[in-house]
């Protein structure tokens, strides 16, 4: 398909990246490497951190390339990215900490 027009190659490149990353996630989810499951870090297994990093890589490709945010002015890029990268980790930090604490208090 990419031979149809030369200036669409970047779309197919991102497509393959997303596909490969998803495939890696599924394979890791099925075989569950012993080391990644046994090592705990920040309240969860290392495998989950791998999943989260891979997901953020996919999200970055979708937002920056497919949604063309990479081509917008830096001021607009930061207007969109900053609320997300400040508020979401903040919310997660509070809710997950409290979730862990309520669990701890029940047992």
């Amino acid at each position: 398909m990419s031979s149809k027009s030369n200036n669409n190659w970047w779309i197919w490149k991102v497509f393959w990246i997303l596909l490969v990353v998803t495939a890696v996630e599924v394979v890791l989810g099925i075989i569950k490497p012993q080391y990644l499951i046994e090592t705990k870090f920040l309240g969860t297994i290392l495998l989950n951190h791998v999943f989260i990093v891979l997901t953020i890589i996919k999200a970055a490709y979708i937002v920056m390339i497919f949604m063309h945010l990479g081509d917008e002015r830096p001021a607009l890029q930061w207007t969109i990215i900053l609320p997300a990268i400040i508020l979401i980790p903040y919310l997660l930090f509070i809710l997950l900490t409290e979730g862990g604490y309520t669990h701890f208090m029940r047992f």
Binding site: R73, L76, A84, L95, H103
Partner: protein, 303 residues
């Protein structure tokens, strides 16, 4: 004076009367998407809260979503992986439509938009199958008076179907009336190789299991609804229905928008307007739907 102000303003923003050099419509779509992203983050963070709180009795996702249409046996993750692929694919066709829109190639826009709509409808169909399977249930479970979900396991500690144990066809219409809990307890007493698995994944040996069934056991749980489900903690199904349902509603809205868009493209609306920016704006929304699915896939099915 006003003109001078305008030039200063234009210099400061470097976008003239278009702040950030993006049109009003595109900017508003971006702002909507930022708020929508925060909404979904709120849902997923709430899911995380409940999961941490009920860590022990939370179901393991890849023991729940194990089936693939038309195939017998268990294939964890494959079906959701396929759904992810369908949505990524429809995102690719959407970018292509946007790209040809920039070049004012109407026929190409129609082609790629149509493929995007097909992708969206296929995804919705897959989700309907997934919901149907989730609601119907798979192996069934037992619920105690304390609303704890207990699974039947064989001597290899694998979760076993209570239908099979009772010799009932799980797809027969009167499956609920055929499953008699008292009969189950009597039958269980005689079958030493079967054990039970408590909601916090502890295996109960046969004798302990019989004691539990007689003292606290209440009934079967077959399938899932908002009150109880056979997979584990009741909140698990609530979050599943709510988050995937809200995402599915976004996909549905996206498909409706895409169909309106396609009709407008065919009716030459954007040829007359001189640009295909509407394709770009709806495209932003469509990619966002894909983006949300990437996170739902990770936090619901993988983590």
């Amino acid at each position: 004076m006003a003109e001078a102000n305008n030039t200063d303003f234009g210099q400061a923003w470097k976008g003239g009367d278009k702040p950030f050099a993006a049109s009003y419509g595109k900017l508003m779509m971006w702002f909507f998407l930022v708020t929508d992203a925060l909404t979904f983050s709120g849902f997923l963070a709430a899911y995380g809260f409940s999961r941490f709180k009920y860590e022990l009795s939370w179901p393991v996702p890849d023991e729940v979503f194990t089936h693939f249409p038309f195939f017998k046996g268990e294939y964890p993750l494959f079906f959701v992986a396929l759904m992810t692929f369908i949505l990524i694919m429809s995102s690719v066709t959407m970018v292509l439509a946007v790209n040809y829109g920039h070049k004012m190639k109407k026929k190409q826009v129609i082609l790629w938009l149509s493929l995007t709509i097909i992708g969206g409808i296929t995804f919705l169909g897959s989700q309907a199958w997934e919901w149907g399977h989730f609601i119907h249930g798979d192996k069934g479970a037992i619920i105690t008076e304390e609303k704890e979900i207990i699974h039947l396991v064989n001597d290899e500690k694998e979760i076993t179907s209570v239908y099979k144990f009772m010799g009932v066809d799980s797809y027969s219409k009167d499956r609920f009336s055929q499953m008699n809990y008292e009969q189950f307890v009597e039958k269980f007493k005689l079958q030493n190789k079967y054990k039970l698995k408590s909601s916090n994944k502890v295996i109960l040996e046969h004798d302990d299991a019989v004691t539990l069934l007689e003292s606290k056991g209440k009934d079967f749980v077959l399938g899932a609804n908002l009150v109880k489900n056979e997979y584990g903690h009741a909140l698990f199904a609530d979050y599943f229905f709510f988050i995937t349902g809200f995402h599915g509603f976004h996909v549905f809205s996206g498909v409706v928008l895409l169909i309106i868009l396609l009709i407008n493209v065919i009716a030459n609306t954007y040829e007359k307007r001189g640009h295909y920016e509407m394709v770009e704006k709806i495209g932003l929304y469509w990619h966002f739907v894909d983006l949300v699915w990437v996170f739902v896939f990770t936090f619901f099915y993988l983590v």
